[in-house]
Symmetry: C2
């Protein structure tokens, strides 16, 4: 039986786990491991590269490879389109466009996106429903420069989904916070004002500049789950 790179990764990981190679220790070079396992150096390299990406080891040219002393655990969050998220929970999906206006960007919004203050923006408020009940209230500021002419009908396709399929998003970030429901959120979602809501705030940048700032206020009890 001949070894593949995944088996080598597993074996190296095992030795780290049983503290054969304790945190901070230097592990043998690729050449030595290749000989030990009877494979080409490239195969060892593939395995170690994968472990480095996972944060288990740290590699430096000339200095060699060492076991990460304080392994940074990385969790991956897959952010699906809201519709698929709901369907994935076995619930019926629907949404309602609650507001759609052209408004000058308020200062905090403009600042977050790096746009001039007062720049006209599309403001959208969409309530996503799961099984007929409020699931997420989406409050979105959209840079109209990214929209085609004529603009899409966000009452037919949710802005969430239209953007994913029609705009090339380059980078962005998400921040999760716990916030008391605003009066508006309380009213729309049918909860008491001040109820703790899990809020995700996302900004995204496209190729041609800032695209959107969106606040997703999740219904009480919502859990965002990640595995590592």
């Amino acid at each position: 039986m001949t070894l593949g790179w995944e088996e080598i990764r597993a074996e190296v990981l095992r030795r780290i786990r049983v503290r054969d190679w304790p945190p901070g220790a230097l592990i043998p070079g690729e050449e030595a491991l290749a000989e030990e396992f009877g494979v080409a150096r490239a195969t060892v390299n593939r395995a170690l590269t994968a472990l480095a990406e996972a944060g288990v080891i740290e590699r430096k040219k000339r200095a060699g490879t060492r076991v990460a002393a304080l392994p940074v655990r990385r969790a991956r969050l897959e952010i699906p389109v809201i519709r698929l998220d709901v369907l994935g929970r076995g619930l019926a999906y629907d949404f309602r466009l609650m507001a759609d206006r052209q408004v000058p960007a308020p200062v905090p919004v403009a600042a977050r996106l790096g746009l001039p203050e007062g720049q006209p923006m599309r403001y959208l408020e969409t309530l996503h429903l799961a099984g007929g009940l409020p699931f997420v209230l989406e409050t979105r500021w959209l840079n109209p420069a990214v929209l085609p002419d004529p603009p899409p009908d966000f009452a037919a396709v949710s802005a969430n989904e239209w953007l994913v399929t029609h705009v090339s998003l380059v980078s962005g970030d998400i921040a999760f916070t716990a916030e008391p429901a605003t009066p508006r959120e309380a009213e729309v979602m049918g909860v008491a004002p001040g109820t703790p809501l899990l809020v995700a705030e996302r900004t995204t940048q496209g190729m041609a500049g800032p695209v959107t700032l969106v606040r997703l206020a999740h219904a009480p009890g919502h859990r965002v789950v990640m595995t590592f």
Copy 2:
């Protein structure tokens, strides 16, 4: 100038972004791309493998490579040890061990970890401080089977940090929720009961079974930030 795999990845990504290759479309095979870019197939493979890991494309043997129709955006969360998280914010770190008891596992805890009900467990309550102010209240159930004899002094090293460096964690998950501060949390953290708190609940499994279930209640206003 000769092309490397990162440049090929960038070029393929560019073509996807400008919709040269729209979502759902089949892109040329590795052989064809290799010829076009004047590199070996392995180099193209390296580039495409990276894009597939990022969720931009989907690859299947025989069927070829196609642009992901609904690109699932993946965000990565790096979970540092709390001490480093605080120091990284430029604040002084300290912690206080508020409780340390041996208690039979309550049903929900035992169930979440897959341990028999009533199993004796170590219960730890640690308040982490940033700049002298409450930062996180850590409520931890720890499987004593993973502890050495004699057990470490969690008043000297926080359980959070001791576990990372001394126990090989194999897998686990994190869930974020927004919850009203319990009376205990309100008292310890100096906030009004019911204040929305961002709560992270983590379970981790080691090689020799379940390790710990921990609830991290973050001070109001805490943001968990991820980039993608």
